[in-house]
């Protein structure tokens, strides 16, 4: 039994990191919007789905001009996907900004935090059903090309080039975002607004602009997460809803407002889910992620990387 565990462990870790990287990207967007807008935004899961579907639609619409998804070496995608992703990012950003303008901005002025949470839950239901209405209930894929997984570590781990690319890109995005928040004026303005919006205003920061920036940044990360999942697995209307609880678990686990925390939280939740699927039963997948969350919060209630101060 133990031999079997050791033999499968490298693959479990690889699967966990892959699953965790998508969760991490979504959780980073969620933690940023939570820290600045001060409410749990349930529409973030649907922004992931819509970002993926917008990109897929753009790919189909632009194929006569860009020649399809493209191909880079062993990957199943190329420049075509990058162009479509740009359109998908614009679509998801406009969706997020429209939601803020039409729904959340009004409620921020007149409602309480719980009103915002309930409104976001309602909006997420509407957005999910709109996907079914527009695209149908079946799952869709970016490409039907058959991909052979490469063997690593003497055959103990099998990973496709697409999966490796997604893992690398997710890590690069997390590092880039951390640098952006730490060393750029916009990043500092976002951190300042998250800590004290009134003080940010009297320091000359246009906090309304910061809020719009956060929505767009969240939508960009959500779209990337949706497309990465679409490349390595498939897109389906329930994708956002199914990701929602792991996203919150990862954001809380990492410490609300912390980008490295959300990244690490996502990886931990992904690894826990992967281990549950392999060693227990697929049905325990979400439960194990939450057990890890509870265990860490009991030891460190503010999460792994709680904001300083």
């Amino acid at each position: 039994m133990m031999d079997l565990v050791w033999l499968t462990l490298p693959q479990v870790i690889a699967n966990g990191l892959l699953q965790g990287s998508a969760i991490a990207l979504g959780a980073i967007g969620l933690t940023l919007t939570y820290s600045i807008l001060r409410f749990a935004n349930f529409t973030h899961g649907e922004t992931i789905s819509w970002g993926g579907y917008f990109t897929l639609t753009a790919l189909a619409a632009l194929t006569p001009w860009i020649g399809g998804i493209g191909k880079w070496g062993g990957l199943t995608f190329g420049w075509g996907l990058v162009v479509a992703l740009g359109v998908g990012v614009v679509g998801a950003s406009l969706l997020a900004l429209a939601l803020d303008r039409l729904l959340f901005a009004t409620l921020r002025r007149h409602g309480s935090a719980i009103t915002l949470v309930i409104a976001s839950f309602g909006a997420s239901l509407a957005l999910r059903n709109l996907i079914v209405f527009v695209y149908g209930p079946e799952s869709v894929q970016f490409t039907r090309e058959l991909v052979i997984a490469d063997r690593w570590l003497g055959g103990l781990v099998r990973v496709t080039p697409d999966q490796l690319a997604v893992l690398g890109l997710s890590a690069a995005l997390a590092v880039g975002l951390t640098v952006f928040l730490r060393f750029t004026t916009t990043g500092r303005a976002m951190r300042a607004t998250a800590e004290n919006p009134a003080l940010a205003q009297i320091t000359g920061i246009d906090t309304a602009h910061v809020v719009r920036t956060v929505w767009v940044l969240g939508a960009v990360l959500a779209t990337l997460a949706g497309v990465f999942i679409g490349i390595t697995a498939q897109l389906r209307p329930e994708l956002g809803f199914d990701l929602l609880l792991p996203l919150f678990a990862a954001a809380i686990l990492g410490g609300i407002g912390s980008v490295p925390g959300a990244m690490l939280g996502g990886l931990i939740v992904g690894l826990a889910e992967s281990a549950a699927v392999e060693y227990l039963h697929a049905g325990y997948r979400n439960a194990v992620g939450f057990l890890v969350l509870i265990a860490i919060l009991v030891i460190r209630p503010t999460g792994l990387f709680a904001a300083r101060g």
Partner: protein, 238 residues
């Protein structure tokens, strides 16, 4: 420099806290706002700074009508504000706080201003990479004042700058305020520590129920028995 005409402001519609406040602050003047708790002193400066809605009246800065401008625009228009509490970004270092305070200035100007603040507050220069959340109360107050001064404002309003500080530190802070005025900055100071504030102020205003009740030179107010008895915490001796 700063002029208010019939200013009415409050947090809730129909429940004004500032009720028809009118006053003038001259160039390079130190004006202190005194009054009992709940008189509306803090609300008045927050309204001028754009943090509390103004429902009637006007605010002019150097002749320009700035009534209702957003707080971020006022900061860029030359009006600085130092709140009583939560007046620095605790998760940012001293250097980051100061860099952010002048982010809208040309970079060479910003660097010059930050250097000027380090010269004015040498303690901050020594700890520039320390998170503001780790500073003592006095150091935080110095950073809060430096943050407000970075964009070279014409007027700086300070809400209870002595709150929570030891008497020795209060003296240091008020001495810095005198130095800052000497550099050409007009100061409006809300204070409970009336004695210390009147000692450095040119004029004082006693605010009662949201409107000025006594206005006059600081020395006159300090020696006014009614003001002293009612608002400065002194008792008449038999």
């Amino acid at each position: 420099m700063l002029a208010l005409q019939g200013l009415v402001a409050g947090y809730e519609p129909g429940l004004p806290i500032v009720r028809g406040a009118s006053l003038q602050v001259a160039d390079r003047e130190i004006l202190t706002l005194l009054g009992p708790n709940g008189a509306g002193k803090s609300t008045l400066v927050k309204a001028i700074a754009g943090l509390v809605p103004i429902t009637a009246g006007q605010v002019h800065l150097s002749g320009r009508d700035i009534t209702g401008l957003g707080a971020h625009r006022l900061a860029r228009a030359g009006l600085g504000f130092v709140p009583q509490t939560e007046n620095v970004f605790t998760t940012l270092s001293i250097a980051e706080n100061l860099a952010l305070a002048g982010f809208f200035l040309p970079s060479h100007h910003q660097r010059r201003r930050v250097a000027a603040m380090y010269a004015l507050f040498p303690d901050l220069a020594e700890r520039r990479h320390t998170d503001a959340g780790r500073l003592s109360g006095g150091q935080r107050q110095m950073l809060a004042i430096a943050r407000a001064l970075i964009p070279e404002p014409r007027v700086v309003m300070l809400d209870e700058p002595s709150a929570g500080l030891s008497p020795k530190l209060v003296q240091v802070v008020f001495q810095k305020l005198v130095e800052i005025r000497a550099q050409g900055v007009t100061l409006v100071i809300v204070e409970q520590n009336a004695k210390a504030a009147l000692a450095i102020a040119d004029r004082g205003i006693v605010l009662v129920e949201g409107a000025p009740r006594f206005v006059g030179p600081a020395q006159d107010l300090a020696s006014n028995p009614e003001v002293a008895r009612l608002y400065l915490g002194r008792r008449e001796t038999a």
